[in-house]
Every structure is written in structure tokens, then in C-alpha cells.
């Protein structure tokens, strides 16, 4: 099922993309496609970070909470860099995407936490950590 999501401020560094459709990917339950409604060539794969990093956490600033507009019904996703080998598929843990389900709006925020990277190898953690 496709969902329309509006990003009032766009994505970080890509501020001109505001409207997206969130759709499932074939044969996938962990990855979704965030496809720009304005540019069919622009889309991002996103995933729920908690299946490979259960203790992923960050704190929103007051202004971010104001922007997002609620503390309930929020979903957290991270963007995925798809690579030719599964071991090299990475997730960006520094720029999570927060979706407010009740308003259909989305925000990408910046996490200034040294423990997170923009290129976290999803599978290596899964294989090492078990």
C-alpha cells in the first residue's frame, strides 16, 4: 500500500524534494522505497534501523519536536545505500527519517553523535552480533 508523505523541509542537502510516496518493495518486509513524486528518478530505500541495531537511539531537540509535531505515531527509518554485495549495503545512522503517521509528514534530522556513521554496514553487524 502506498502512502503519501510530505517533507516540509525536504531532505538534508536536497531541500527541493518535498513530496514522496512510501511504498513496499517486492518480496521485502524490511525495506521500503521512498519515491519522490516530483522526480521519478529520485528515490531512496529506507529501512527500520532496529532490526539490525536494537539499541539505536537519539534525542530530538525542542525545535525538532515542534517541527515533527507529535511524540506519538512516529516511525523511525534510516536511508540505505544499496551495494552489489549484501555485506556492503550500508545504512546512514546520522540522518534518520522520522515519519509522523498522523499528519503524513516526514523529516530528516541530523544526529551529532560520534557513535553513529553515515555508512553502517547492516549485514556485518548482523553476522558478527548474531
Amino acid at each position: 500500500m502506498d502512502k503519501k508523505i510530505h517533507f516540509p523541509k525536504g531532505l538534508i542537502g536536497l531541500e527541493n524534494y518535498h513530496d514522496f510516496t512510501l511504498s513496499t518493495l517486492p518480496e521485502q518486509t524490511q525495506f521500503w522505497l521512498l519515491q519522490s513524486s516530483e522526480d521519478k528518478h529520485f528515490g531512496l530505500v529506507i529501512t527500520n534501523p532496529f532490526w539490525f541495531m536494537p539499541d539505536y537511539d537519539f534525542e530530538l531537540t525542542e525545535s525538532e519536536i515542534k517541527q515533527v509535531g507529535a511524540k506519538e505515531n512516529l516511525d523511525v527509518f534510516v536511508t540505505v545505500n544499496v551495494a552489489a554485495t549484501p555485506e556492503n549495503i550500508t545504512a546512514n545512522l546520522m540522518g534518520p527519517i522520522i515519519l509522523n503517521q498522523s499528519t503524513g509528514s516526514g523529516f530528516q534530522i541530523l544526529i551529532a553523535d560520534k557513535k553513529y556513521t553515515t555508512q553502517y554496514k547492516i549485514m556485518s553487524a548482523k553476522m558478527a552480533g548474531g
Binding site: G13, T29, L33, H41, L44, V45, S63, I89, G95, L110
Partner: protein
């Protein structure tokens, strides 16, 4: 861009409520003290650039439909290891 000179312990005022003080200077490193309202976000520019570049790269990988099929090899939610 406004360029101005400040010495150690001198302060710069931006708007009504942002103060930037030169706390220390060691060689090519400068330690800044920043006082700003809580709603003002302060970030190192490299962080912004890293996330921006990652967004752009992630978008590139999706343009390649073959890449998406690679995700099929990834574990699904219901699969227990």
C-alpha cells in the same frame, strides 16, 4: 560573507541572542564557546555534508533497478536467525 578579526576571549554577537566567544587558540585550532537559544541547531558543517552526500549516493543506487533486486537477499522480518 562578513570577515572580521577577533582575539582570544573576545565575543561576537549575532542577532539578539547568539553569542560566540573565542575561548582558546592553539595553532590552527580554535575553540569556540557558543551561547544560543535551545531551538537554534548548531552543527559541524562536515556532519551536514556527510548526510547530504549519503542522501545523494543512496538516491543514485535506487536508480539502478538491478540494485533493488539485491535487497531480496536480505533477511526478512519474520526470518529468525
Amino acid at each position: 560573507m562578513l570577515i572580521l578579526t577577533r582575539r582570544k576571549n573576545e565575543t561576537l554577537r549575532i542577532g539578539d541572542d547568539i553569542l560566540i566567544t573565542i575561548v582558546d587558540i592553539q595553532g590552527d585550532q580554535i575553540r569556540l564557546g557558543i551561547a544560543a537559544p535551545r531551538e537554534v541547531s548548531i552543527l559541524r558543517q562536515e556532519l551536514y555534508e556527510a548526510v547530504r552526500d549519503s542522501n545523494a549516493r543512496a538516491a543514485l543506487t535506487v536508480q539502478n533497478a538491478d540494485m533493488l533486486s539485491l535487497l531480496k537477499k536480505m533477511p526478512n522480518k519474520d526470518e529468525k536467525k
